[in-house]
């Protein structure tokens, strides 16, 4: 994690030769009507800061301790909400992928596990794919049948006025052992067809919000076109083949992307009190 304004030289790194290997872990557990954090272990570029709880929800902010990911880094965050727990994770700043000392790719793997009657909200700031960077990011999410999830991911392809780096992602969501959503994206130099009128066209920011809630089994959301203006961006809301809703958005820049997603999220939360809780 790194502030978007961070200077280019990597901070807090010993040598340039090898990338950083880091696994940060957070575990939330329900205790006496509140959520406690028995595990809160930062590592490498990830430091955790506890924020004030909101209701029964424990809140954690990921603070960047050094510039990452750079080429060659192997980064991993594991977050678990045990039975009945409610955990909200955000980040202090955008994640800036930069070219490392080598052209080698970096990996950034996020593993989220949500147990029965637990809720996890993963709402970090965007990933910025800077020119020359090469990142493979995965989200692997395991949900119990009664678990609830809110996940936001935003990608900004290139800083202002520069071409994007290469970013390849895979998002896999399993619910009760079955795959609910499996989605890959491959953008930037070397990715076939990414800037064509079928994939991103001229858009350089893309994002989505995924809501999983067993309530959607009874009350699935109707598909909805949220915005469709070439200047401001485009977004649709659609039910998945399961108790989940996905908001997909494209926009000319990160500000308008966030605006669209925020508006869409408040719309979608209307139909699901529990997702908003």
């Amino acid at each position: 994690m790194s502030p978007t304004t961070a200077p280019a030289p990597p901070i807090g790194r010993n040598t340039a030769a090898m990338g950083v290997r880091a696994t940060a872990r957070v575990t939330a557990a329900a205790r006496a009507g509140a959520t406690v954090l028995p595990v809160l272990d930062g590592d490498g570029p990830f430091e955790f800061r506890r924020l004030r709880s909101r209701g029964t929800e424990a809140r954690v902010c990921v603070v960047g301790a050094m510039s990452a990911p750079l080429g060659g880094d192997r980064l991993r965050i594991e977050a678990t909400a045990r039975q009945g727990a409610s955990l909200h994770i955000t980040s202090a700043a955008a994640t800036l992928a930069l070219r490392g000392p080598t052209a080698a790719h970096a990996t950034y793997d996020v593993h989220l596990t949500v147990a029965e009657h637990a809720e996890l909200r993963w709402l970090p700031k965007p990933l910025i794919s800077a020119a020359g960077s090469n990142l493979r990011q995965t989200w692997t999410i395991d949900l119990a049948p009664t678990a609830r999830l809110v996940l936001r991911e935003e990608q900004v392809l290139g800083r202002m006025g520069e071409p994007p780096g290469h970013v390849a992602t895979r998002l896999t969501v399993r619910r009760g052992g079955h795959v609910l959503l499996d989605q890959e994206a491959d953008y930037g130099p070397g990715a076939p067809g990414w800037d064509t009128p079928a994939v991103l066209g001229h858009h350089r920011t893309t994002g989505q919000i995924l809501l999983v809630d067993p309530d959607f089994d009874e009350n699935p959301r109707e598909p909805q076109v949220l915005t469709e203006s070439p200047e401001d961006g485009q977004a649709v809301l659609t039910p998945l083949a399961g108790p989940a809703t996905l908001i997909t958005a494209l926009a000319p820049d990160g500000l308008r992307l966030r605006h669209i997603l925020n508006a869409a999220y408040s719309t979608s939360a209307d139909g699901s009190n529990r997702a908003r809780k």
């Binding site: 795959v179 079928a198 659609t238």
Partner: protein
């Protein structure tokens, strides 16, 4: 081996209902994202490497005899937009009717019984290819070709594009069609060892968003 069956299966006149669908070309033309042969080629290239790769891998896996119902669920997980799932199942149902009449088989019957509203089209295509005595690579070829020929044919109608230009677009994509069909088949081959999750899941946000937009348009030439 029964290779000529591939020509029958991949023929645009095979009565599986594909002519009523533009593969996302109609909303792209309406939005000005396809305006000429060059932008059509780019559109087809983007669709090929995303939706085309996924469809080809599903079809190859089905043609190899992997459980079509598990593949149908994998297709659901790879199709987040409701409008595209509906389209895939409608096309699957029409493909099923044509395939059962053409190459009847117990496997097609079983899939039709299990999914009366239609299975995802690439899965039906794969089982149909298998019933016709074709190989997984053949099924992948039928899927990738359909991924680009549908939008190309539709654009001839939507933009009054010169049919020679549209065919030239398809010819220029041939090396990539070969590569994607082979990649899809190679990945499908790994299903036996590594399970269905190994199949590609490449996404295309503009195809997703515009498909949902198109589904709500009252006046349209193509169903999708």
């Amino acid at each position: 081996m029964n290779r000529a069956a591939l020509l029958v299966l991949a023929d645009g006149r095979f009565p599986a209902g594909g002519h009523a669908h533009s593969g996302g070309a109609e909303p792209a033309v309406a939005a000005g994202r396809i305006r000429d042969a060059e932008s059509l080629e780019n559109f087809c290239r983007g669709r090929l490497h995303t939706a085309g790769l996924v469809a080809a891998a599903l079809a190859a896996a089905a043609a190899a005899g992997h459980d079509p119902l598990a593949l149908d669920r994998a297709a659901d997980a790879r199709t987040p937009v409701a409008a595209l799932r509906d389209t895939a199942r409608k096309l699957g149902r029409q493909m099923m009717r044509a395939a059962r009449a053409t190459w009847p088989s117990a496997e097609l019957d079983a899939l039709a019984t299990a999914r009366p509203r239609g299975a995802h089209q690439p899965v039906v295509l794969g089982v149909a290819a298998r019933s016709a005595g074709l190989e997984p690579l053949d099924a992948a070829y039928a899927a990738v070709y359909e991924t680009v020929s549908g939008p190309a044919t539709a654009t001839v109608r939507l933009l009054s594009l010169d049919p020679f230009d549209a065919t030239t677009v398809l010819a220029r994509l041939v090396p990539e069609l070969d590569r994607v069909a082979e990649t899809a088949t190679a990945t499908a081959r790994r299903v036996a060892e590594e399970g269905i999750d190994v199949l590609p899941a490449a996404s295309a946000p503009l195809l997703d968003i515009s498909a949902q937009q198109h589904a709500t348009r009252p006046a349209r030439l193509f169903a999708s």
